[in-house]
């Protein structure tokens, strides 16, 4: 009798021990960060990555708040906010997405601001040993792949499509295009040399040594208006409003200009 009982107890014990160890590891540190005061989650368009990381650090220094960024294409983020992403702020590279969310009642109306205009850049990869200096150069045989962001949901992708259509190159170039999930991914295709060239955000290549670039004539596409607004469900409206003001303030403007954004005059 004793033997089997022991091994049975051992089986049960082992089973429970394994489950318990896993559970303990899983529940080890259950900290829910987003809700406590003094924290912000900003859903921000991919072109803002470098600029907002810097502005965020300055804002943290000044206010002592903790600010976290979730970067993605403006369309993806809008979709996520509609589905309940617990963001305090939405910063889009295209004002249309902000308008759409505002019309659905998901944003605080009076917080919406257009604070900068993004510029489209024609970038070429130094790794691939290719330099393109105008859109027509994309037709050269050594340019096999051209990276753009997905025009379906990424503002820079849409601007790239518009620009290529304006100069009548879209149909011819279409087979050579590779779509990035967002403009950051498209930029990485060029930076790594997997695409010889790309139409990407100036803000992501302006401080970059692995690519050369020229800015694309703004008249070829709709303006890439950077807009942000506070999300209605925020638990920290006051701090969120402070961040909007900070982005528009002297420190925010300086950083935005450093990354090639065109910042409109106040008023």
């Amino acid at each position: 009798m004793k033997g089997p009982v022991l091994s049975g107890a051992k089986g049960l014990l082992l089973f429970c021990a394994l489950a318990a160890v896993l559970l303990a590891a899983g529940c080890g540190s259950d900290e829910d960060a987003s809700d406590s005061s003094g924290e912000l989650l900003v859903a921000a368009a991919a072109d803002l990555q470098y600029a907002f990381d810097e502005i965020g650090a300055l804002f943290e220094k000044e206010t002592g708040a903790k600010i976290t960024f979730s970067y993605g294409s403006s369309g993806t983020l809008a979709q996520q906010i509609e589905q309940g992403l617990p963001a305090d702020l939405y910063s889009s590279a295209n004002i249309d997405y902000v308008d759409r969310l505002r019309e659905k009642g998901l944003l605080i109306e009076d917080t919406q601001q257009v604070y900068a205009i993004g510029r489209l850049a024609l970038a070429s990869s130094t790794k691939a040993g290719v330099t393109v200096s105008e859109l027509a150069d994309l037709l050269r045989p050594e340019v096999e792949k051209v990276a753009i962001a997905d025009p379906e949901h990424a503002p820079y992708g849409r601007a790239a499509e518009e620009a290529l259509k304006s100069v009548g190159l879209w149909d011819e170039l279409k087979p050579e295009l590779v779509y990035g999930q967002n403009v950051m991914a498209a930029t990485e295709y060029v930076r790594s040399g997997n695409a010889e060239a790309g139409l990407v955000a100036l803000s992501l290549v302006i401080q970059e040594t692995a690519v050369t670039y020229v800015t694309v004539d703004e008249s070829l596409h709709q303006p890439i208006e950077q807009a942000l607004a506070v999300v209605k469900d925020t638990k920290n409206e006051e701090l969120a409003r402070r961040f909007v003001a900070f982005v528009r303030g002297p420190e925010g403007r300086a950083v935005l200009e450093k990354y090639g954004f065109v910042v409109p005059e106040e008023g």
Binding site: V5, L18, L23, G26, T68, Y71, Q80, G84, P86, Q181
Partner: protein, 222 residues
């Protein structure tokens, strides 16, 4: 120079450990049912449990958002009644990982249970053991290597979950940015140091899990 944010590693371990614990309990129960009981719809249950193995993770992520998202019936109920938000939260990542890891646990444990000679269980039963006692004193000890191998496989798969996670839980640093999501993010932003570190960690952990599993299953054959 070397300031690498390792919070995705901690988060991944936490999410995967919890998902594996759920898989272990749920998976062993399901595996035993499938191995030892004949019931109506058994084939369907078996197929449903295995489905995440062959479905693209994007399909699972889409289902999860539709079924448990914050604008879904269940999601709204959970949030209003218990303050529990699954979408865009680490809890959601646990659910995504559990669903993709469960088939590995079930299949491995089921095979192990099926390999246990039923006459041994019957003998124990004729000696007056209850079904539960038989399970813990005979079936589980004999099937143990397969169960542990399934657990290790499930853990490795849970750590590696990406598609359903990024759709259902999003990409929030420190909250839902698990290692696979962090790698995608690091690649996009050209952060090679972070990408290389995380890729190396994931490769080594997964390789170690497989080595452990191989060892376990070899031992079980002796």
């Amino acid at each position: 120079m070397f300031d690498i944010d390792l919070s995705p590693l901690r988060l991944s371990l936490q999410v995967a450990a919890l998902a594996t614990a759920i898989c272990l309990v749920l998976g062993v129960a399901l595996a035993w049912l499938l191995a030892r009981r004949q019931f109506w719809g058994r084939g369907i249950v078996s197929a449903l449990v295995t489905l995440p193995l062959v479905l693209p993770p994007t399909v699972l992520g889409y289902y999860l958002l539709q079924a448990l998202g914050r604008r879904s019936l269940v999601g709204e109920f959970l949030e209003d009644s218990f303050g529990l938000r699954l979408a865009f939260a680490w809890e959601g990542a646990v659910i995504a990982s559990t669903i993709v890891a469960l088939p590995l646990m079930v299949r491995s444990a089921q095979a192990a249970f099926e390999a246990v000679d039923p006459s041994l269980e019957n003998t124990a039963r004729t000696l007056g053991r209850t079904n539960l006692a038989v399970f813990f004193t005979v079936t589980l000890p004999l099937a143990w290597p397969g169960v542990v191998a399934g657990t290790a496989l499930a853990f490795a798969r849970a750590v590696g979950e990406f598609g359903a996670t990024i759709m259902f839980a999003g990409n929030i640093p420190g909250q839902t940015r698990t290692m696979p999501v962090a790698i995608y993010d690091a690649w996009q932003s050209g952060d090679a140091a972070l990408a290389n570190t995380l890729v190396a960690i994931l490769t080594v952990t997964s390789l170690l899990s497989l080595l452990v599993i191989g060892r376990l299953l070899r031992v079980s054959r002796w």
